[in-house]
Symmetry: C5
Subunit: 366 residues, 5 copies
């Protein structure tokens, strides 16, 4: 109970997607749970690559001129000076920076004169807290990509490795292709998360079919709510990729556009997967309800049958338990003195019981 409450509290706190009410737009404030900031840079061209932690932001300016593509990765949003400095260095718009430091935005893509601003939500499944959606903000221009992450830990390690290994298309292409690769990595990271819910649903189905219990309903509702959360994260992502695809932004080469079309395809598959899981969850709720009502009906049927068989029998027994005085009148319960009175009474009871059973059988209630 308490844990659930805590989770809900957390979820609610997260909704604070902009600065304090009344603050001027574009003003940056540190979020309660912001992590310490650490920045690192990977810069490369087709033949060479360099990678180091950033100590002074001014050094990055040099890299920008020296290398074909410079990727500045800022993790943790507690140090607003670094954020502001990065903003100045790459000429990022204050409103975009506001979205960076007030996370939990919807996924979106926005064109600014100085480049493209992407907000993504990177999923990571955590055993305790369920699905976490960390905001990743991506800016890219002609020769740079800047990413802001909330926490350490991301799904970009394979991309870094591909960069280091000088294999594949990454090193041959520009900043737009790197930005695409990051976007693609985020999209791909959703699949295992969504499939984990698929497995939970299968597991739930097995358990519900075996023995439907109320806790399954709350579990189903939790899964449905989480899936609704993923859906709210995935739909805007799909829209954003589509917008990027249709947009005539010259920063994107025709070749990258083909890859982006592929990423768009993946977002559609993702949306369909989520929708199909939601349908399965709804179907399971129906299965549960019909199981429970079926079980209830079975219980009631047994009650009915036992009760309706014994109620007339008890009546007959009660009848011959009456104390009318046979001595006072020959009409007073003469059966009590008959030779075969008791066997006859037992016989009547047996006939009633058998008749009832035959009636129930004919009605297919048994």
């Amino acid at each position: 109970m308490a844990k659930k409450k805590k989770r809900l509290r957390k979820r609610r706190r997260r909704r604070n997607t902009h600065g304090p009410v009344g603050a001027p737009p574009g003003s940056l404030t540190v979020q309660e749970d912001a992590q310490p900031t650490r920045a690192s840079v990977i810069a490369y061209d087709e033949s060479e690559i360099t990678e180091h932690v950033v100590e002074k932001l001014d050094d990055v300016g040099g890299a920008l001129e020296r290398w074909r593509v410079t990727w500045l990765d800022v993790v943790g949003l507690a140090d607003l000076d670094t954020v502001r400095g990065t903003g100045r260095l790459f000429d990022l718009h204050p409103l975009a920076l506001e979205d960076v430091v007030h996370p939990h935005q919807r996924a979106k893509v926005e064109d600014y004169p100085s480049g493209v601003f992407l907000v993504l939500r990177m999923p990571s499944v955590d055993d305790d807290d369920g699905l976490e959606l960390e905001q990743v903000s991506v800016f890219f221009g002609e020769s740079y990509v800047v990413t802001f992450q909330e926490h350490e830990g991301d799904c970009f390690e394979p991309i870094r490795n591909r960069l280091r290994q000088r294999r594949g298309r990454l090193r041959k292409n520009g900043a737009d292709y790197l930005a695409y690769a990051l976007l693609d990595a985020v999209i791909d990271a959703y699949f295992p998360a969504v499939e984990a819910y698929g497995e939970r649903l299968e597991d739930l189905e097995d358990r519900i079919l075996e023995d439907p219990r109320e806790k399954h309903v709350s579990e189903l509702h939790a899964v449905k709510r989480d899936l609704a959360g993923i859906r709210r994260a995935v739909w805007p992502l799909r829209e954003a990729v589509n917008l990027m695809l249709r947009d005539e932004n010259p920063l994107l080469t025709a070749d990258t556009r083909l890859y982006l079309r592929d990423a768009y395809d993946h977002t559609i598959q993702l949306v369909e997967l989520v929708e199909s899981h939601r349908e399965i969850a709804s179907g399971l709720l129906d299965v549960y309800l019909s199981s429970v009502s079926n079980r209830m009906n079975e219980v009631m049927k047994v009650l009915t049958i036992i009760a309706t068989i014994f109620i007339p029998l008890s009546f007959v027994a009660g009848l011959y338990g009456m104390n009318f005085d046979p001595q006072a009148s020959p009409y007073n319960m003469p059966e009590l003195g008959w030779r075969y009175g008791y066997p006859a009474a037992l016989g009547v009871m047996l006939s009633i019981a058998l008749g009832m059973l035959w009636f129930f059988r004919r009605k297919r209630w048994l």
Copy 2:
């Protein structure tokens, strides 16, 4: 009960969004609950600012020429002369003025030759009456902003302070930016209101899971109805901001447009927040229903089990309560005279009870 009725009455009365039936369009009438009118002016340019209560409307004309931006704020709509005078001074269209004095309009934006007319609904949560949505009408042109409010008390104080402090972008930008800032303040004011409903829902969820009662249903319905009301207020707001954004109105500078895009983003988040709360409320109703039916099933199961165990036992007891005369015939209830008749009867009863219990246990009804 009575209070609820009163609330409904009030709600209904508010629906009167235009003049009396049959009145010519554009005619102004005082609403029943109109407040006394008070007008004040804030005028500023980048270097200076003045602020005073308006006593004669003609003085405002001078301010218009002297200052870069003049903001006339009219609070209370009882004095139609002031409204009409303001209309003449700023060349406001009669239809727009009609919307000003007959509040409870949907949020909207309309272009008139003399400027842009915005209708907003400013939320304020009141402990007794639930959510209040006060209409704020905003006109703006090249160098002026005129606002009409129904009551004292608004969410614009932070903006006034920012103006006075000569900090930030407000003093450097024109009337369009001030209008944007007012719009943004109204949008921001919705978030705490909607989040309050989120907290009520969490609270309700805790209480329903603990002990589902009928009053929770009516409370849920009240929350759903209020959320539907907010939704009806927020959707047109979103549309209006979108329309303003896409519109080619030259009064809006490119820079203000960027900020407006941000405001549009906030309205989308607001709509999603409301929708997600509505979904949670619907989910809670399902949880409640399945809780109640579950509890009912548990009750019925206990009845079934107790009844089905005791009904056959009572039958056996009734059987041996029959008064067939053992003296009249050796076939008449000879068991009554057996040495171990009573213990045997008790044993039969015990066997029946245990058999039943075993049967129920096997069926997983216990």
Copy 3:
């Protein structure tokens, strides 16, 4: 019952929105319930006005030339010659005339070479029959407005008065403004009708919360059906006004267009009001259902508790009502001869009852 049937019959008969099956398009036939025809004319320019009943249609031709705007109002559709004559006089299209005499069309606007044709449905609430929607057909051109109504009685009297009093914009504007004013009057007439349903819903809510009965359901269904009917009338009206607004018809001046935008706003409010009432009605149905099932649960709980308490007690009583012969054997019900046998039995019963009550209390069933 019979009355309901009659109402349904009537409703069905009204669906006959075109001539007999197989009749050529554009052929006019008198409807069963057509009223006798009466035509009157109001003609005016800014300085003068004339108003009289039409005896010969040819006289109207003269008015057309003399006055700036001529409004011919034909009430009752029994006299097809008048309708045909009017059609010839104003060059109205046969298909439009067919729609005039076969009422119960959807609201619509159609451009014909000779002018604009509007079909409106004017609401009037009647205590016996519920909502009546009378068809009003409006034609207007450069200098004329022709209206056809089914019955006497309309919502245009305030417009006539404004015309007579030479006040406001009506006398200064052309035929398009008069047509707008008629349209606006029809739209305004819906509000009290819809609000009457709002009051019925409030009343129903009070009664359902107090004591839910089945008749409330049929009343709710009747309200929902009527609201669905209004919705079917109002949606096309909204579409028609929107079409008129977006259409480039030169008959509408820019000024009238501003007023039409206002009318369009009102239709949107109307649609929202109807939708919100429909939602409230659906919500009430849920409230009713949960009330009823709650009440049922309460009844069942009482049965369960009384039955489960007394069934074991009755069993004990039945047990000691058995007639095993204590004389025949010391094992046969020796309790019957114990000094405190009866008080002990009563004590056992009391313990069972109290134990049960404690159990129910612990389970929160009491």
Copy 4:
């Protein structure tokens, strides 16, 4: 049962809307239930008309040149040679001819270089089989209309009569107007069919309100399914007419377009009528369900009340039926020997019964 099954079988068989799987597109095959073919021709201009059965297709070629409009009506699709010959004569596309001989297509309109191809579904209500939708394929060009029907019997007789009588617009207009007239006749033929379902629904409502039975549910489901079928037929018809209306095909004169707009209006009314019937049917299902559950509740309430009144009474009776021996001890049921013991017991019972009744009355269960 068997009949229902048969009906379903038939319905399924009809779904075969194209040639055998694997057949090349455009190949014609005779359907199982194809009727023998009979062709007739009506050819006319404004002054003259001729009408005869076609014996050799070549004769039709002469008519085409002689008359302004030639209408070839082919009834029955068993003779593929006639269909192919007609196709050659009028230059009809093989894919269109395939649609002609494999009926049960959706309504549609298709432009081919040689003319316009319309697929319509003509309704006819049959007492045994419910609604039949016969496919009518219409081709028209500059001077000809070709129709293919599945069976004898159609709704075109009034058109033939209007042609013969040289009245109205038909004789004065071209082939496009004739095609419109046929389309209009088909649309008009839906109204009585749909209204018949309206009457069945009214009848069902009366019967459900009087005495809700399970068979009403299956009847309701049958009506809903049929209405869904009509809806599936009518929606594409509406789309097709709309497409025709918006299309710039030069075969349609401006005048015919006005009439087509009228026909489009009728299809909208049709769609609304069907939707409104579907809503009524859904509403009736709710009414049925709430009636049934209400009746069930009433039954349960009676059980509860009778049971809860008599169970305690029976317990009291059972109590004094115990055989504790008053002689053995003064504590053993001394009541049995009291002077007013029996009347007192009866009094206790009566008090319990009255108390219960008062309790139920207070709870409003009675």
Copy 5:
């Protein structure tokens, strides 16, 4: 149970529609269940045709130049070298090849500079596993068609036969017509699959109406889930065909476009068929639920009636089973000593029973 689980596992595994998470886009990996690869070629022009298994891919290059149309059919995706070689030979895009070897994509059509890429899902009903949807990837250009299939066995045999027989349009047309023919064959293959579900639904309806059981619900849910799966396969197919139709791709001749329009028609029919089956399935669920609750009501009614008749009778019997001592007082159960006491008691019981029956009959509960 176990089988069901297995089926679910399989379904989940299939969702893996792209390479391992983190792999660069366009990288090919062999799927677990990939079949050995076999390639064959059919090449033809109007007069001649050749058909052989491919041993070296280079030979295909020769065919490409010699014949008007070359169809390379690759079955089984285990041999990535063949796939890559084919890609090089026909200049297929790496992203498209990735989609080829990671099957279970949505149906789609994509334009690449070198030709058109179609992803189709070919249905085949298998008795054990239900519906299988095998992915067929089709590339076509000016003079070639390349198809990739997952398994042996397809629905293209009739097309091969039509090619061999030099009949019909296939041999006379280009590669675009062959691609259309393959697409059409896949679409046609859905119809028997969907109709099989129609038959299962009919069968289920018969069984539910006869004797509703819980297993029918799970069967219905299985059918609904499968239909939802088909729907998810068919909707994108419809979209893809529509996109191809509207697209201005010069590879498609005007003539093929007419045939494609026909194929599009078939996809619409398919979608409608699936939707209509889904509606029928939902309707059946309602029928089942109302059947079950009806049956339950019937059971409860019998319980009610038997119980309510016998409970008062048993009370009367219990009353006269009390042991008040008639000797102790004249008020103690004098009835027991009356001459007609017993018959009178029986008479009272009979009257109660008959009164109850009359009451139930009047209430129409019997």
